[in-house]
Each structure stands twice: as structure tokens, then as C-alpha cells.
Symmetry: D2
Subunit: 89 residues, 4 copies
């Protein structure tokens, strides 16, 4: 579970990333130089990775710990590995 402060912080980061994506759409339609667009794509991807890491840490500290304390460790770890593979792409 995310705290209200975490939700606020993540929402702000996601809004900024959404703004970057809008910026990329605009740059493409304005025929801006590909290299500048590609740098922005890299920045948006890096931003999403940071959001993912923050959520993953929060998820681990709450849901995963809770699940393990309730003896549901097998499912919790299987799920965690799936998430990690999804984020790594």
C-alpha cells in the first residue's frame, strides 16, 4: 500500500512524464531533429524506471512483507520476480 504522500509524489512524477510524452509527440509533428527526440524518449523511460523502483520498494516493504508474515511467501516471491522481469525490459 502506498501512503498518501507516496501517491502525491508518484502522481507528480507521472504528470511530468506525461508532459514529456506530449512534448515528444509535438516534437515529432514539428519535424524536430530525431536525436533531440530520442534523448527525450530516453529521459521518459528513465523517469518511468524511477517510478517503478519507488513503487517496487513500497510494494516490497508493505505487501510482500505482509504476505510473508502470513505464510504466503511462495506466491509473493513468484509475483515479485514477474514484476522485476516486466520492469527490466
Amino acid at each position: 500500500m502506498l501512503t498518501d504522500m507516496e501517491i502525491e509524489k508518484l502522481s507528480r512524477r507521472l504528470r511530468r512524464i506525461r508532459g514529456q510524452i506530449e512534448g515528444i509527440e509535438r516534437m515529432i509533428n514539428e519535424h524536430r531533429y530525431c536525436v533531440d527526440v530520442l534523448q527525450q524518449i530516453g529521459a521518459a523511460r528513465a523517469g518511468l524506471y524511477q517510478v517503478g523502483m519507488i513503487m517496487l520498494e513500497s510494494h516490497s516493504r508493505s505487501c510482500v512483507v505482509e504476505a510473508i508474515k502470513n505464510g504466503k511467501e511462495d506466491d509473493a516471491i513468484t509475483e515479485l520476480m514477474g514484476v522485476y522481469r516486466a520492469l527490466h525490459k
Copy 2:
């Protein structure tokens, strides 16, 4: 240089990614299960990577080839390596 068809195709992909990001913001604010959110983050990142690869290929086939034919290979390759590194994050 992107062709009009490439711009159309990339714009469509970017709109879809922007929709995914909005979805992630909503999911977070609705306290949805972190694992579902994390899978969406992974999907958005993978989508951005695909957009990056399409642009990188188009850039290589036009600007990089052009630059090399005009003897500006040193700068073109230096720039290309910078883009690779930016996309890999």
C-alpha cells in the same frame, strides 16, 4: 527525417503510451494493487523502447547515411553512440 506515414504511426503509438501513463496515474490514485500498476509501467517502458527503435532506425537510414555521405561521419557516429546510451537506461 521521418516520413508522414512514420509520423502518423509514431504519434498513434505515443498517444497509446500517454493513455497508459494516465491509466497508471488513475490506478495509483484508486489504490489499485501495486503489482498491476508495475506491470503497466513495464508495458509503457517497453512501448517507449519500441518508439525509440523505430525513430533510431529511421534516423540512421536518413540523417546518419546523409551525414556520412557528406563526410561528416565523425560527428554522426558520436551522436549515434550518445543516443544508444540514452535509450538503454
Copy 3:
């Protein structure tokens, strides 16, 4: 803690990766075509990632679960996040 069977399996994978690296060294010294060498480098990196995922899963199922059951969740998760970041590079 890795089981004996896991150690055997990982050792076999690592020997194969070591063989790939030796192969890459040989290819470079024999002036083989860069693209073939680069494909091998990609394969060795992917192999190391698989080894990392196997170890990470085993570590999570044993040490992390153990630590959490003993109330040492804070350190265990901090360490886990550090490992994620190290593997992602």
C-alpha cells in the same frame, strides 16, 4: 542459501558463459567480423542476466523470507533494491 542442485546448475551456466567470453576474446584476436562478436556479447550478457534472476529468486525465497520472519525486513528490502539496481545495468 542455494541448494547443491542449484549450485550445480548455476556452475554449469557460468562455465558456459566463461566459455563464451573466451570465444569472444579469440574472435577479437582473429579479427572476426564485429557484428558476430557483438551478437556473442549480447548472448553472454543475457546468460548472466538469467543466472542473476535464478540467484535472485533463490535469495528471495530463502534469505529474504528468513530475514522478514525474524523482523529484519527493513535491511532485507534495502539490500534487495540495491541488487535490483545492480542487475539492471
Copy 4:
């Protein structure tokens, strides 16, 4: 084409990476703490990425430039995109 100096430099890096892999095999067989092993795996992967980037740059500056100047740009770029995808894993 790699110069003799590049071959020497890459061979040295690859020998170091091979040593890291041997070290990882040893650590696993000595039941060393998984987290330390995982950090080493991350370091070896990062080392291979650097080797890949050096080769990719050298390949681009020689073979790709040569191919483009000889009008074989289509194949050269297709190959380059394949290499980039292979390295990214």
C-alpha cells in the same frame, strides 16, 4: 576493423570479466552470501556492456561508414539495428 590497440584494450577488459566470472563460480561453490554474488554479476554485465559499446563504436566508425560510402547502407543499418537489440537484453 579494430586496431591493434583496440584489440589489446578489449582483450584486457575481457580477461578481467572472465576473471570476474571465475570469481562468481568460486563464490557460489563457497556458499558466499547471494547479495555479494549478485553485485558481482551486475558488475560483469556492466563490463560486457562497456566492451559492447566500444566495439559498436569502432564497428560504426569503420565497417558501417565504409558500407554506406559503398552504397550498401540498407544492409549495414539493418545489421546495426539487430546488434543494438542484441546488446540491450
